[in-house]
């Protein structure tokens, strides 16, 4: 099962790190990517540019509005993400706990819904339930 790990932290705190600590954090993040790869858990992982570069796009009645800034204004913002493969939530939690910048903030772990075109005739709710029972490891 796939999980998206969204890494949240306070950018001010991140920016307040010394050059040396910052370098070390990035190095650790690369090392952790390698650990994930070795364990067969790595799908994708990237840090994000700071929220000063964020733009939010909304579409209402066909009209596009573009605003400066992140979707929600909060102290802690998404600073990066990892898409991982894990057998269940316990394994995902175990991996998320090792994400280096998790020490600055927190990691939201969200299961990915596996959906394909062939599933499109079904109501969404039924689909989500079925997807969970399909992918569950029994026994």
């Amino acid at each position: 099962m796939k999980y998206l790990c969204m890494v949240f932290f306070d950018e001010k705190q991140r920016n307040a790190l010394s050059e040396q600590d910052s370098q070390k954090l990035i190095e650790e993040a690369f090392d952790f990517d390698d650990t994930l790869r070795k364990g067969g858990h790595f799908i994708a992982a990237h840090p994000l540019e700071s929220v000063h570069a964020a733009t939010t796009v909304r579409v209402r009645n066909g009209k596009v509005t573009v605003t400066d800034g992140p979707f929600a204004e909060t102290n802690e913002q998404i600073g990066g993400f990892l898409l991982i493969e894990a057998k269940d939530l316990n394994e995902a939690i175990h991996l998320a706990a090792q994400v280096p910048p998790a020490r600055l903030g927190g990691v939201e772990v969200r299961p990915i819904v596996e959906i394909s075109r062939s599933d499109l005739q079904r109501p969404w709710s039924e689909f989500v339930m079925r997807s969970a029972s399909k992918s569950r490891d029994r026994g």
Partner: protein, 437 residues
């Protein structure tokens, strides 16, 4: 088939249901991988037993029979659904393909399922109130109505919590497993907190007219015994001991008209000696291990109290010593407050008052009525009446339970203060931790 036999079968079925249904459910959840499906399957298996057993006799291993039947019923259900959903074919195939003979399973195999159920219901990824509701529903077998009554909320609220929790277990894939050794202390902590929360809810109701609700505390003790049997870790034994030692004083804790009676004023002949003895044996067992945790230490303190035949004979030096260790293991302001009260008993009120003053000055327990009430008690003992009055009044503005409020009002009256009934029901503040004992 004689009518006698059918009556007997029905009685046996009732007894089996009470003793086995939670065990059978725990195993069915593992087998079919879904809480709701397992519950439906258990229900159908019980109906099948009611139909077959009076005619065909009670099987030699009723538990295995129920598990087998429940599993078949679940497969039937999935197969019916699979007619509309081909993806479920794999599920049916996998379920049927597994080698399956529950009569060959030893008890340990099944007890593991109960432990899996406990750890899943108390998984930290679920909100605490859902952990509590799910535990009482799935492990203790309480109805949503019973849980709602115990927690002074509505049945639909409890039902919603349980439905959401099950949805998260399924969709985020919370596994049905006992955590590995390395993660055990953290995960066990969550289980113990849930059990103790259920106990304290029954021991000192969070609000309302009745201070103790024995049923829900008894449920917590049953749960503690079950967990201690399945996983005899020192802290599990410590928690069970703590609950038993507190429970032993239930009859002495409130007067006939529902007033609170403090430990030092309790009629100790009302303490349940048999329960105390059981608790003390467990405390010794927990303390004998190398890692002594907060529950075992709190139980040890309760055990020292239980040794004193009169309040004046309490070994306060030993209690302060235990609080010192407890404070190291678990540095919280509430424990600090309890230690301060013990110091006051050992070294005099002046010394205790200074410690409580420091805690309150830090602002940690400003909204905790017992901190102000403890301060007031010590002021009163030192003859500092006006300070005592203002602290009792502060406590009264924070206390939520009626018996606690009446107790504080009584103290104020003793100091010659007229208490206005209009002060009732003012504060919505609820303490974050269970009250100190």
């Amino acid at each position: 088939m004689s009518a006698d036999f059918s009556d007997q079968a029905r009685d046996t079925l009732g007894a089996i249901y009470r003793n086995e249904s939670r065990r059978v459910l725990a195993t069915l959840i593992r087998l079919v991988g879904d809480f709701d499906l397992a519950e439906e399957a258990l229900h159908e298996a019980m109906l099948a037993a009611m139909e077959h057993w009076p005619r065909e006799g009670i099987p030699s291993n009723p538990r295995a029979w129920l598990i087998s039947t429940g599993r078949f019923k679940a497969i039937d259900r999935i197969r019916r659904r699979a007619r509309f959903d081909t993806a479920l074919d794999d599920v049916v195939e996998k379920l049927q393909g597994e080698a399956f003979d529950p009569t060959q399973w030893d008890d340990e195999h099944l007890e593991d399922d109960r432990l899996r159920l406990i750890f899943t219901c108390c998984h930290p990824a679920l909100p605490r109130d859902a952990q509590v509701a799910l535990t009482l529903r799935e492990i203790c077998g309480l109805t949503t109505e019973e849980i709602a009554r115990a927690f002074l909320t509505s049945a639909p609220t409890i039902a919603k919590r349980i439905v959401r929790a099950k949805a998260k277990i399924r969709d985020a894939r919370i596994p049905y497993e006992v955590p590995p050794r390395k993660e055990l202390p953290d995960r066990l902590d969550s289980v113990l907190q849930v059990i103790y929360l259920i106990f304290t809810e029954g021991y000192s109701a969070s609000s309302g007219a009745t201070l103790t609700r024995a049923d829900i505390s008894a449920e917590a003790i049953r749960l503690g015994r079950l967990t201690a049997n399945l996983l005899p870790e020192p802290e599990v034994i410590g928690l069970l001991a703590l609950m038993l030692l507190q429970e032993s004083r239930r009859a002495a804790r409130t007067s006939n008209d529902g007033e609170v009676i403090l430990l030092e004023e309790q009629d100790r002949s009302l303490w349940d000696r048999a329960v105390i003895e059981e608790g003390r044996v467990l405390v010794e067992r927990a303390l004998a291990s190398r890692e002594v945790g907060p529950y075992a230490l709190q139980a040890a303190i309760a055990a020292v109290h239980s040794e004193a035949r009169a309040a004046a004979e309490t070994d306060w030096a030993q209690i302060v010593g235990l609080y010192d260790v407890l404070l190291q293991a678990n540095p919280t302001p509430v424990i600090e407050l309890n230690r301060a009260v013990a110091v006051a008993m050992r070294d005099g009120a002046e010394r205790g008052l200074a410690l409580i003053g420091e805690i309150l000055k830090r602002g940690d327990l400003q909204d905790y009525y017992l901190a102000h009430s403890a301060r007031a008690d010590l002021c009163k003992r030192l003859g500092r009446t006006s300070e005592a009055v203002s602290s009792y009044q502060r406590a009264l503005s924070l206390a939520r339970q009626d018996p606690a409020r009446r107790f504080l009002e009584r103290r104020l009256r003793e100091l010659g203060v007229a208490v206005d009934a209009a002060t009732h029901g003012s504060s919505p503040v609820r303490p974050q931790e269970p009250p100190p004992r």
